[in-house]
Assembly symmetry: D2
Homo-oligomer: 364 residues x 4
């Protein structure tokens, strides 16, 4: 397999740094271009960014000269990973798509577009087929591959849908779902990010826009596609009631979510059947042989006090999701605790795995 | 009002230290006797305990010689506050009651006894009437006042029922309730307590026995009393479904609870009606003029990111409860965030306020 | 004693909020005017600031309309407390002084001015006499009282000099001193302040400008005044070598400093003599009867694991300093651990106590 | 190279778990026997221990049946790593040595024995030669290899001597040294370990016995060997004054140490010379080709706010030490900040690297 040229937009931000960290160690991709604000453009990356990852910045990457986020500078890229702020992502990503580029974005801007796949790569990679259909149609007409965008889901959405999808596959639709999240601070970035004064010996029971994202994105990711294979059809609110309560907690990495849910079908499965369905779920990315795909997609833990973010977030390099305390719920059917690594399967890492899937499917 | 003589059982533990801290500054009580294990008995309190409160131990208290937890040593006490470990509380507290003493206990042992009041003093002080009835019956027969025990609720139960009671009073029964708690570590005491390795950069999604306590105690506290006024009649499970998910978080003091609930009556009230009922609730302890009663029982906060434990836990010296983010819930009727001070209204502080109520009612 | 009118500059920042918090509960001062940036001016204070103190903002203060930081608006103030950022403090405070106002400033701008007192109020209130001399000279000439500025020391300086001054008084000059600080994050304010990502499960071994402040200010505070009583004469570097290493640690309030030092005189005193001198030190502010003066200026702790910030920072409402582990040092003479409350005796609280001293001395 | 059979004593404790974690991934060693208390003996390891590492316990290790810590059960082991508590280590390790076994111990019991090497493997592996001399003497006499013990240094000692050794090699003896440590909690283990109540929003300025260890061990590690090559000759107190102040801070892993020191020789080297000597130091373990030896022994950081534990502790898998802020010191000659991973180079990891050195030297 030839090495694919990767670009990174928003390269100096915290998501951009994570993309770069993952790409520097990647067998399929090489960093070809880094884009950031005009203020950073023209500087070597090492000077443009305040690198704050736990691994040192490789010198070869530090020497790359940062560009402005314009498609021309990324024309040779097989794939472009965007860690842009929502403030800028809208216009820039559109320009890149129009220029025929393949964009995988962590920004929220296009997640709700009917034609844009919103993908948690261990859960719904088949949503990428809507793009594949467009690509194939163009190919059939002898046209060159059109540009496209794939959106990475919100970080807390990724953790939530991870155990739900195997259960829906096995036991049919879920019609009611509550999720209370305990979210790590790394999701908010560095500067400003979450202030130390706000999070030491404290909880902040609010994350702007987060509950709405969790409630909405879940229905698109668990939803379907229209008959033509061109548009996504999220589950209607009337068929699936989702209620989220989101909290920021003093944890560096790893979102913990206490969820409970009810199946539409009566009687519901047993606790053992639920655990079995979770443990046996094997994600398509693994079947495709993707480098970053988790060996075990869902780890079902039996210890009563697990999963815990510090101990379990790095399972399968952060691509595996841990579930514990699966038990019956007096109000809905089941409750459980889900832990996912917010910057890996919930952000940059998901983007890289989506890139691997695109590569495996010949879309880049 | 004459000063009442107070005893403290389990005086060297963390709940005992809190009782002592609150009593040393109290206008109605004076510390008369301190009880602890045989290992501590005979030593001055300052040597028997590893004092770890944020205020210094008053010398006068440090000089008190610790006794074994036997009724004889507490015979002169008007009231005995028990911070005993559940392992010892059962036998010791029974002996004290049989010896005619008035015991206010933080232990879980007698909470589910049908004749024992389980009291959150800002919420259901009227449950003390079951004891008052027994006292009055004895008085009527010319007998001396019988010993009795009043149980303080579990810490997370206190925060949960605080906003529920005013709402049930105003809008009728709640038939479904979910609570996900983010509990401070002070509730687990010092040694062993929660290990630093377990709670730094981490969440523990399990507290032994806690979910069951939250689910069960809520139904007794919001429940009624039989016609004879002698026994408590908790709400049956079939009438009120309660589901709890309890987490330990890196916070020193203050339990945060994300709750959602549904009223039995249709249609439910509006968000504004709910907030008004909470804000206007005035606890009986305040009406009785109790020293520690909160000026404002429930603080309804309008800022979208409140309550927060570090900023709001000390409201009304920890006797006031804060509620924020009151909003409609897609699954049940409403959701909100509740914050209560776990060692004040959720433990030792509640005991002191119960003592004040007993005093105001002439029961000690 | 008549109530003095107080103004606060930089009222919306974290130091300004602390000034306000302390003034709202103060028997000698009342808040008369609040100043902030033009962006905030014209708004009620409650709207201009994001109040983040642990006590609620009193409604009466929330309703005060914020002004721009111009002397006219503060003309009626008997005293003006400045929590201004160093970026703005230089010009604004000068204008206030020129307008004849009495300014107590937390900014660093004028600390090194030879004619400006740099005061830790429990340590060197006699430095205020340099201002008193100017005031008296003007009075003698029949002129009105001139404006003046008193600077509050850097927060870590306050904790450092607190135990040194009594020792120098008792045993003569210190000629070598090392201090490694473990500083709380509240000193850096809220926004940006210290990022949660920087301080959770972490230490930052650098605080911009801090080591230089600690090393320089110590020599001015422990230094003298020229013969005319008009200018300060810091201890020369050759007479006192000071070396600081400053760290930011995950603590909300309370600076811990591990210090060691050598007396110029041989032989040095004994450990017991050192402890006695510290314990017996009584600050002038207490002798003057100042409201906020600590009952005990230096608390000498005998427990081997104290002082600790969470347990000891609030001693004497944060105006008392705690010293522990006084012992001989193999390299210099003695080593010890010092704890001081950085936002009380190290910042806003010091300003208030300076105000009380000014009031007691009839300078405002 | 053949695989060596390794035993682990104290296998269920936190140091034992770390030994096991490192051994399960090791190319030279395989776990052959696990020893723990009689209470654990007879149980499969997975049941005997509460595994709390960030990587899952491999099933193959979990199935090993735990033995009592008696030499018979470890007779086939080429090397035995001891994570025993000091309470038990004395007798057990002696019995193992007498039985002819090679023991690498993390316990403090034998560190001060004149014939026992106290080794930081990246710093003084040549101290192992004292054992090699004994082994060779026995060999020469046709006797079988005698048992021996190598002691791992205290965790904070390892970080301290790491930069000192290259400097002493380059510039001669250091005659005065002060170190203030900010130590992570993982060094104290899990149960009880450091209580969350003691370390959240707090500093504990005391670690029992630690300052003495730091002051004493440094002089043995930087010291020499007698002419016969049989006994260690620590630097006398009169030649090197060492003063330590040890603090526990809210950090999971990674000890930060603020140190300052003076060379005996005048004039001292320049800051640049000091940095160069540190950066160019290459440890013997690397020259020996040891698997775990750091690629770069001392990382000299130029950013003004580094090293930081969360970002820098895992450098070279925790076997590399980071040094930053090298600068002149007004009291001694230089000051700097040192960061080392306390459970890797400061404990179990050091043991494994010592094992590799023993293997490379043919001593096991």
């Amino acid at each position: 397999m030839s090495i694919k040229k990767a670009g990174v937009l928003g390269a100096t931000g915290s998501v951009g740094q994570r993309f770069i960290l993952l790409l520097t160690q990647h067998p399929e991709f090489e960093i070809h271009a880094l884009g950031a604000s005009p203020r950073s453009a023209g500087k070597p990356y090492s000077q443009a960014t305040a690198w704050r990852q736990t691994e040192l910045l490789p010198e070869s990457v530090g020497n790359i000269v940062v560009q402005e986020c314009k498609p021309e500078a990324f024309a040779d890229c097989d794939i472009v990973f965007s860690g842009l702020d929502a403030k800028y992502a809208g216009d820039i990503e559109q320009a890149f798509v129009e220029a025929g580029l393949a964009v995988v974005s962590n920004a929220k801007n296009y997640r709700r577009e009917p034609t844009v796949p919103l993908v948690v790569p261990i859960i719904n990679p088949e949503h990428i087929d809507v793009v594949a259909n467009r690509v194939n149609a163009a190919k059939a007409k002898g046209e060159k591959r059109p540009g496209f965008i794939i959106c990475i889901s919100n970080c807390s959405t990724a953790g939530l849908v991870a155990p739900l999808k195997p259960l829906v596959d096995a036991f049919g639709p879920i019609d009611a779902l509550t999720a209370t999240t305990l979210q790590a601070i790394s999701g908010a970035g560095f500067s400003p990010g979450v202030s130390g004064m706000d999070i030491l010996d404290n909880i902040v029971p609010f994350i702007s826009g987060e509950e709405d994202k969790l409630e909405w994105e879940t229905k698109k990711i668990l939803g379907g596609v229209n008959a033509e294979g061109t548009e996504f059809t999220p589950i209607p609110d009337s068929d699936m009631k989702v209620s989220a309560q989101c909290n920021r907690v003093p944890v560096i990495d790893g979102h913990t979510e206490c969820i409970s849910f009810r199946f539409a079908k009566r009687p519901p499965p047993s606790v053992e059947q639920v655990k079995k369905a979770l443990a046996e779920y094997e994600c398509d990315a693994k079947k495709l042989g993707c480098h970053s795909a988790p060996k075990q997609t869902i780890h079902v833990l039996e210890q009563q006090d697990r999963p815990q973010p510090r101990l379990d977030r790095d399972r399968d390099n952060g691509y595996g999701v841990s579930v514990g305390r699966v038990r019956e719920d007096p109000v809905l059917d089941f409750k459980m605790v889900v832990l996912s690594h917010n910057t890996i399967i919930g952000a940059a890492g998901a983007g890289i795995l989506i890139g691997e899937i695109l590569n495996a499917k010949g879309l880049i």
